[in-house]
Structure formats: C-alpha cells, structure tokens
C-alpha cells in the first residue's frame, strides 16, 4: 500500500509520538549537555531511558555495550554525536524490518490478521479496508472472528461505513468456513484484496493456535499461496511479552508482517525494536489514532527520528 504522499504524515507521526519523545530526548540531552566525559551515571540513565521505552533490560544492555565500545574509540564525546550514534544503531536494527506491504494489482491478494485479545485486529482490518477502498482498490472483508460477542457486528459497522462487502457467518460458527466462503466470493467477484479478521487468542493456547493453522490450510487449499500476508497485530502498550507473542505466532503459523497499534498513547513501543532485532520480521503499519487514516505504513527512519530527534 503506497503512502498517499500526504505531507502531513511526518508531522502526524511526530505528533502521535511527541508525548513520549519529549521525555525520551529531554533525559538524554540533560545527561550530555556540558558533560564531556561519559560517566557511569550517564550509562545508568541511558539504560533507564531504554528500559522505560519497553526495550527490555537485555536489549538495553546490548545498546550500552555498543555505546561503550564507541566511546572507547572517542566517537561519543559530543551531544550530537551521541544522538547520531543512537539513531544509527536503532536504524541498523530496523533496516531489515523496514519493508512496506506491496500488493500486486493483477490477482486476488489475501491477508490474514491475527493477534492476542484486545490489540486492535478488527480496527486494523477496518482501517486497512477503508484505506484500500479510498485508493480505488476493490476490497472485501471476512469476519472469521466467530467467537467474541459482537465481533462480527463491529467489523460490519466498519465495512458499512467504507462500503465494503463483508462475508460473515453467525457467531459460534467455524472460522475456516468463513475464510473458505470469502475466498470463493472474492474470486467470483474479481476482488483484488481480501482481509480476513480472526478471533483474538493468547499465543499459549494450543487448541486456538491449531484453529488458526486450520484457517490457513483451508485458505491455501482454495487459493494456492494464500494467505499471501499474515499480519500480527501488536499493542504498543504491551511490554516484553510482545516478543513471546511474535515468536510463538511466527513459529506456529508463520508471520509475514507486523502492525504496531496504539502509538498515540504514551507508550513508545520500544519492544518492536527488540522484536525486529531478534526476528527480523517486516513491520508493515503503525496505528497512531482512532480514525481510518491513522493507520500508517511503517517507515523506520521516520519512526526512529520521531522517537529520538529533539524538537
């Protein structure tokens, strides 16, 4: 999905992240201004800053190790040098993950959206659908969350707002059957993109993960290569457990892209950098608000800049 060339995007992202950035950068700047030699207190402060952004103690230790090495080589005695080094380091980690979702126009492209409960899967499906529709892509949604009460109705509201066809079964039905019907319907109508919303599930529930495997299997049987994209939706408020989520969903069903939601709060979503570091999964979108156009393609440089740059 291409960015619309919206000039407001960067400022919007910055605005979304600014509440957190203020604290983040202020700390670092206060630490280094007027300090030529880097003290132990400095590293303690840096560790705290990284940990409080949910990057975790292990990852924070790695970053500090890296900074210490560079300090030894006298690369780190000025403020802007420090910011640059931190910037570059974060960027190098995000490099492999900085891959926007490309949707080919010539054939049916299927997207399955998965995640634990309450991360914003249905909302994400609604937002992607609206966005694609605005861009003139023909899109269809499938309500394969047949478990949660009113999940179907929730997606239905999104689809009606955006005027998108929705394939649904009654609550309690077999989610694979919904996916099956949806693929058939999408093919016969010549739809370009099919978005399959699934029920939230904790990654530790074996039987529910098996259900996802089944949905995936049925989709692949109906349409070789489907689902073409399996999006894992992560909540920026989540701490280190997001890494477990990403690992388990990836091991069990194979994740091809990540979505980081709820970045409009004070959470910095730093865990995404640790996930990128360990799993190298592409980060496709970030959610920075409740409106349909508040779902944005992820851009590593902008993300890091918005997170680290001073105002």
């Amino acid at each position: 999905m291409a960015d619309n060339g919206d000039t407001g995007f960067f400022s919007r992202l910055r605005e979304g992240l600014s509440k957190t950035r203020r604290g983040f950068v202020k700390n670092l700047e206060e630490m280094v201004v007027g300090e030529r030699v880097i003290s132990r207190e400095f590293y303690d402060e840096l560790e705290e800053t990284l940990i409080s952004a949910d990057m975790g103690p292990v990852f924070a230790a790695n970053v500090i190790e890296e900074m210490k090495n560079r300090a030894k080589r006298n690369e780190l005695d000025r403020r802007d040098a420090l910011m640059n080094v931190l910037n570059d380091y974060m960027l190098s980690i995000l490099e492999a993950s900085d891959k926007p979702l490309r949707i080919p126009k010539d054939d049916l492209f299927t997207v399955m959206v998965v995640g634990v409960n309450g991360t914003g899967k249905t909302t994400t499906v609604g937002k992607i659908a609206s966005r694609l529709k605005q861009e003139g892509t023909s899109v269809m949604a499938a309500a394969a969350d047949t478990f949660r009460a009113a999940a179907v109705e929730q997606l239905d509201v999104w689809c009606r707002r955006a005027d998108i066809p929705l394939i649904k079964h009654p609550t309690g039905g077999d989610p694979s059957a919904v996916a099956y019907d949806a693929i058939r319907a999408a093919r016969s109508r010549g739809t370009n993109v099919l978005l399959v919303d699934t029920a939230g599930r904790l990654h530790t529930k074996t039987n529910l993960m098996d259900e996802l495997k089944k949905i995936k299997r049925i989709m692949a049987r109906e349409l070789p290569g489907a689902p073409h994209e399996t999006l894992l939706v992560l909540d920026a408020v989540t701490g280190q457990n997001a890494l477990n989520q990403a690992r388990m969903f990836n091991d069990e069903i194979g994740v091809t892209g990540l979505v980081l939601t709820k970045l409009d709060g004070t959470s910095r979503g730093g865990i995404i950098i640790r996930i990128a570091d360990e799993l190298k999964l592409p980060i496709r979108f970030i959610g920075i608000g409740e409106q349909a156009d508040d779902l944005r393609p992820f851009d590593g440089r902008e993300f890091v800049e918005a997170l680290m740059s001073s105002q």
């Binding site: 009113a150 109705e153 530790t204 074996t206 408020v237 701490g239 280190q240 004070t266």
Partner: protein, 443 residues
C-alpha cells in the same frame, strides 16, 4: 501464570543454593539477577529499584543465623517483600447498600473491560446480588451489542440506550432504571480510552460525579509494559480508584504490571481474569501470587478450583492420591472428565508447586478428541488392568484397542502418558507438595 518469572527465580536461587554462606558478594549477584528478572517481567523500573533496595536492607539486616540455608533465607525475604507489596486486606468489592451500588470499570482500549463486566456480573449474581449491566461505550462499533450478548448469556439484564446518547446520561438513566426495578448492583462498562485523552478522561469524571460509584475499578492487561505506571497514575488522579482487575493472566506474560499497578495506585488488585470463558474470574491472593512468582506453586487455588467443579470429598481424595502416588488409570479417567469442567490442563498444572520446572509439561495439553479417545481406551480395560497397569501386556493391548475402536498405538500412548503422569506426581509428592503442607518453602 507468572511461569517465566518463576523459572527465572529458580535459576537465580539455584546459584545461591549450596554455597553455605550468604556473603555480600552473592547477595549482590542474586539481586542483580532478580533485578533483570523483574525488569524482563515488565515491572516498572522505579518499582524495581525500590523493591531491590528493600530486599537488600532485609537481607543484610537479618543475616543467615536463623535460617537453614542462605537460599531459603533469600527466597523468604523476596517472597515476603513481594507478598507485602501486593497484599491488601480490603480486596473485597465494597457495595454500600444503596439501590443500586454502581461499580464502574475503566481502562485503556482492549484491556478487557466488557468481558470483565460480564464476568463480574456473573460473580456477583452467584453471590446472590440482583445485578444489572450498562454500557457507556458510545464510541467503539458494536460495543453495546457485545455487552448485550454477554448479558443474555448469563441472564443479567443490560440497560438499553441509544448509541447516539451522552454517556453520562446513559449512566444516570441506568441508575434510575436499576432503582425502579430493584437491582442492588449496577455494573457500568465504559469506553476504552487513552489516559492522556483529556476530553474522555473528563467524561469519566463527569460519570463519576453523576452516579457516585461505590467502586471504580481499573481494568489492566497483565501484559502491560512500563507504561502501566503512567496509565494507573492518570486514572487514579482523575478518578481516585478503588481497585484493579488484572486480565489475560492465563497467557505467559510475566505479569510484572501487577506489582507496578499496586505500587502506584495504592489500591488492591481485586480480581484476575484467567480465560475467555465467562466464569474465568478469580479473586486475587497476594500470598499465593508471591508464592507463584517464586515457583512455590499454588496448591490452595488448585484445591479451591477443584472444589468448585468437583466436590470437596473428591478434591481431597485427589490431593491424597497425588500425595501418596496412588493414582490409578480409573483416577486418570475421572480426572480427564473433570478437566473439561476445570479448564485447560496447563492452567491446573501451573498451580502445582514445581510443575513449572518439569520440562515438556507445557506441551502436555490434550485436545477434546484426545480426551474422548483416552476415556474409550480406559473404559475397555478390566478392573484389574485399571488398578495395576503393569499387567497390560501385548495381547491385552490388542484386545483393548479392538474394544475401544482405537489402535494398539493409541493404547500404548495412553499407558505411556499415564506412566509419565505418575512419575511427575511422584516428583511432586516428594518435593513441593509435602514441604508446602508443612508450611515450609520447598527448596
């Protein structure tokens, strides 16, 4: 629950075990590891800092004179501190006798407010209250519909209102409705919101002013990271919270948010959300939680849970059998039938002291079909075979397979799993459980 932290602590204390003398050096080392474990568990770094200092003070002050091993001493100090931090005698809901007593649920988007509202409604109804529900969420599509469906499931009326209405007015009307219809408790489900969203936070304050709730509970996700602190702070400052409900604790989140939330709000954690089913709600016990964090398991909760679904006698019998390693195939069958009622096996095993340490246990969750198969296999055995599984030889296995409509491989697997289970129980009855029952820390 808290499995990972438990495992972490197990390794931390393994290092201390057998050193004989607790000196400055190994305290420092252990505390360093505990610090990292707590941070990995998402306890807020400020809370961790305070906690570590408290533990250090206690450790240095008390020395090791009155303890058996330094390891036990440290475990006890950390355990006591954890329990102390989370404990609160006032963890009951306080309904003030008004008709109705409103209970208001607040929190971020997706933390589980609506599900918790239904679970609490069911819990209160079970205790004999006349409960009504209302959704003040006019923002999320189908949020009201969701509560209505859940209310129907548990047979609790949900106050009807238009989606276009003002949330404050909806709540006021719902109070009036409850009063007129003789409901003593009204559960108010509010829309999820960011703690920095001023207009929406003010809306909550207006609802509070209009209905004067007996209880305002913050619903928080057990997976919450460092921001648990600022979220709790904002909600507490705006509303003066009365308690916390911690949800989604049935996953593998280390749940450090529990410590942070408690520390910041100063209010008790009252309930835990432990699953997607509508009865998956548990009362919070600090001692048990601390024990659980430290790998001492939670035999009390296990027994309580069993009591609810089975009966007390059967639960005692099960406990006795586990202790005596006198667990037959017949017992296995009875247990498998109960498991369906009690919830996933891994939840249950998580409560058994030391079970977290046993490798491969995590994958030991049978699916429903498997349960049916295992039951069929055991049903096809003779009484003698069920009591003494060792006599089941090749020809008996063939007969059992034919009788149960399964294969010999299936029969083999049932017996193998049963043997593994006996072994595990033997370990438990030797270690964790016995010492736990004597009131000592299993170590």
């Amino acid at each position: 629950m808290f499995e990972n932290l438990t495992e972490k602590f197990d390794t931390v204390f393994k290092k201390l075990k057998g050193r004989g003398v607790l000196d400055e050096e190994n305290i420092r080392e252990a505390l360093k590891d505990i610090r990292i474990a707590l941070l990995e568990a998402d306890v807020n770094f400020r809370v961790v800092r305070e906690f570590i200092e408290e533990v250090r003070e206690h450790a240095v002050g008390r020395e090791v004179l009155d303890s058996i091993t330094p390891g036990q001493q440290i475990v006890k100090i950390v355990h006591d501190q954890l329990a102390l931090l989370m404990a609160d005698e006032n963890n009951q809901l306080k309904l003030d006798g008004r008709f109705p007593s409103p209970i208001m649920l607040v929190g971020l988007q997706g933390c589980g407010k609506t599900t918790t509202a239904a679970k609490l409604a069911r819990h209160l109804k079970e205790q004999g209250n006349r409960v009504a529900l209302v959704s003040a969420d006019v923002y999320r599509p189908a949020a009201m519909e969701q509560l209505k469906i859940l209310g129907n499931k548990i047979d609790v009326p949900v106050f009807e209102s238009g989606e276009a209405e003002n949330p404050v007015k909806i709540c006021v009307d719902a109070v009036e409705y409850s009063r007129a219809n003789g409901f003593d408790t009204l559960l108010i489900d509010t829309a999820g919101r960011l703690h920095i969203d001023q207009p929406l936070m003010e809306e909550l304050a207006r609802i509070k002013a209009a209905v004067n709730p007996s209880e305002i509970l913050l619903v928080a996700d057990a997976m919450t990271g460092q921001e648990a602190v600022s979220v709790a702070q904002s909600f507490n400052e705006t509303l003066a919270l009365d308690g916390v409900v911690l949800t989604k604790i049935d996953g593998d989140a280390r749940g450090g948010a529990a410590l942070s939330l408690r520390k910041v709000t100063g209010t008790p954690i009252k309930f835990l959300g432990i699953g997607e089913k509508i009865d998956a709600l548990e009362v919070f016990h600090a001692e048990r939680m601390a024990s659980r964090i430290l790998g001492m398991g939670d035999i009390l909760t296990l027994v309580e849970k069993a009591q609810k679904t089975i009966d007390e006698k059967a639960a005692k019998e099960l406990e006795r059998k586990i202790r005596k390693n006198d667990f037959t195939l017949d017992d296995l069958k009875t247990q498998l039938q109960q498991i369906k009622k009690m919830g996933p096996l891994q939840d249950i095993l998580g409560m058994i002291p030391g079970a977290g340490k046993i490798k491969g246990l995590k994958n030991m969750q049978p699916d429903e079909d498997e349960l049916v198969k295992v039951t069929a296999v055991i049903d096809s055995m003779t009484k003698e075979e069920r009591a003494h599984y060792k006599i089941i030889n090749g020809s008996r296995r063939k007969r059992i397979a034919a009788g149960s409509g399964t294969t010999v491989q299936d029969v083999n697997r049932v017996i193998k799993n049963y043997e593994a289970m006996r072994k595990m129980m033997k370990k438990l009855s030797k270690g964790g459980m016995k010492s736990f029952s004597r009131g000592k820390i299993p170590f």
